[in-house]
Amino acid sequence: MYNFNYHQAKNVDEASKLVTSVEEGKVMAGGMTLIPTLKQRLAKPSDVIDLGKIPELKGIKKEGNAIVVGAMTRHFDVANSDVVKQSIPGLAQLAGHIGDPAVRHRGTCGGSIANSDPAADYPSSVLALNATIITNKRKIAADDFFKGLFETALEPGEIITAVSFPIPERSAYMKFPNPASRYAIVGVFVAKTGNNVRVGVTGAGACAFRQKDMEAALSKNFSADAIKDIKQSDNGLNSDIHASAEYRAHLVNVMARRAVQACG
C-alpha cells in the first residue's frame, strides 16, 4: 500500500471540504472495499478522509412510510434491526448476507452504495425499493443514481448522509454468491407495493439495473410463473472467471423467480 495522509473528519462538512481541497482525496466509510483496493495499489489517494467517527451518520429510524438508514450504519445493524426486519424483511435479509459477520461489523450502507461495485448487494435494493439517496447537497432518486461501473451521480465533495427506503408491501432478495468472496454473481431484489413491482438486479451488469420486462409481467400477475419465460439478454453483461455473461443472464431469471417466491 502506498502511504497517504489520514484525516478523521468530525462532521460531513469538514469531510466534504477536505476531500476537495487536497490533491487526490478519498472518502472512507467502513473501508471494506477501499482498504483492499489500497493494498493492491489499485488506488493512490494523497489523502484518506475517514467518516468512522461521525455519530450523526449512524442509525436507523422509521420516518412516515420509509426506513431511513444513516450512511455509516453497518450491515450488521441493518440485518439485526427489528424495525427493518418488520418493515422491509428483504433489506434485512440482504444486509445479513453481505460478506461474513466480521465484514458486516465494518461495512456500511452508504459506502456500498457510493462505490457502485457491480457485485455489491445494496444497489439492487436501492433500485427495487425506489429509495432516495440523501447527500450533504441534495436528494437523488434511485433511478438517477447508478451511472456505470464504480460510477454514480455523486459530484466531487458530495457525501451520502442517509438512504431513505420506502416501505413496500412485500420484498425479498435472492443472490447467487461467489463462494469465496460472497459477492453477488447475480442478486435480484423484488419489491411489491399495490400493483407496482420493481425488480433490481446486481452482479450481472456494469452497475445495478432494473429488469423492466419482469416488472411489467409481475405487475399484472405477481407469481414466479409469470416471469419464467422472460429471458434476460446477455448483451453487455459481465463475463469473468466466475461466470459467463450467458450464465449470469440465466441466473437473473432464476434469482428473480426465487425472490418472488420468497415474497410469500
Binding site: M1, Y2, N3, F4, N5, Y6, Q8, G31, M32, I35, P36, L38, K39, V48, D50, G52, F76, G99, D100, P101, A102, V103, H105, R106, A180, S181, R182
Partner: protein
C-alpha cells in the same frame, strides 16, 4: 509519524505508525503479538480476526489509525494465566484444530458468535463461520467445540 494509542488486551499501547499501517501489522510487528495471523490478506480467510470494542473484525482490512482510542482483544488476551478461556478449552477438548493456523481467528469469531447468539443451532454456527476458512477442512470438530462451549455456558 502520527502516534496512535490502542488499548490491547487491557493495556494502552502508544506507538508511532505510518498511516498505511494495518491493524494486524500493528499487533504483530509493533507489539510482537503474533497470535493474530495473516492468512489470505484479502479479508476472506479470517485468520486475523480480533475484537474491536467487543465485536469481531478482520484486522488485515483495517488501519491502525482507524481504531485509535479503541480497545482491541487478541487471542493472547483470552486466557487468565494458565486458565484457558472456555472457548479455547472447548477447542482443546473437542480436537477443534489440526495445523492450528486458522485457530486464533476461529476462536475469536466463535466467542463473538456466543455474544450475539448464546445458544446457536448447528446451522447458525456454520453460517457464522462463513468468514473463517480452515484449510485442513477440520470444520466438523470446530463446530462441535463451539456447540459444546455454548452448552456449558448455558448450564453455568
Amino acid at each position: 509519524m502520527p502516534s496512535v494509542t490502542i488499548t490491547v488486551n487491557g493495556k494502552p499501547e502508544t506507538r508511532e505508525v505510518e498511516n498505511r499501517t494495518l491493524l494486524v501489522q500493528f499487533l504483530r510487528e509493533h507489539l510482537g503479538l503474533t497470535g493474530t495471523h495473516v492468512g489470505c490478506d484479502t479479508s476472506q480467510c479470517g485468520a486475523c480476526v480480533v475484537h474491536i470494542d467487543g465485536y469481531s473484525a478482520k484486522s488485515c482490512t483495517m488501519l491502525a489509525t482507524q481504531v485509535n482510542g479503541s480497545s482491541v482483544t487478541t487471542i493472547e488476551g483470552l486466557a487468565k494465566g494458565d486458565q484457558l478461556h472456555p472457548m479455547q478449552e472447548s477447542f482443546r477438548e473437542n480436537h477443534g484444530l489440526q495445523c492450528g493456523f486458522c485457530t486464533p481467528g476461529m476462536v475469536m469469531s466463535s466467542i463473538d458468535l456466543l455474544r450475539v447468539t448464546p445458544k446457536p443451532t448447528e446451522r447458525q454456527i456454520r453460517e457464522w463461520l462463513e468468514g473463517n476458512i480452515c484449510r485442513c477442512t477440520g470444520y466438523h470438530n470446530i463446530v462441535k467445540a463451539i456447540a459444546a462451549c455454548a452448552e456449558k455456558q448455558a448450564k453455568a
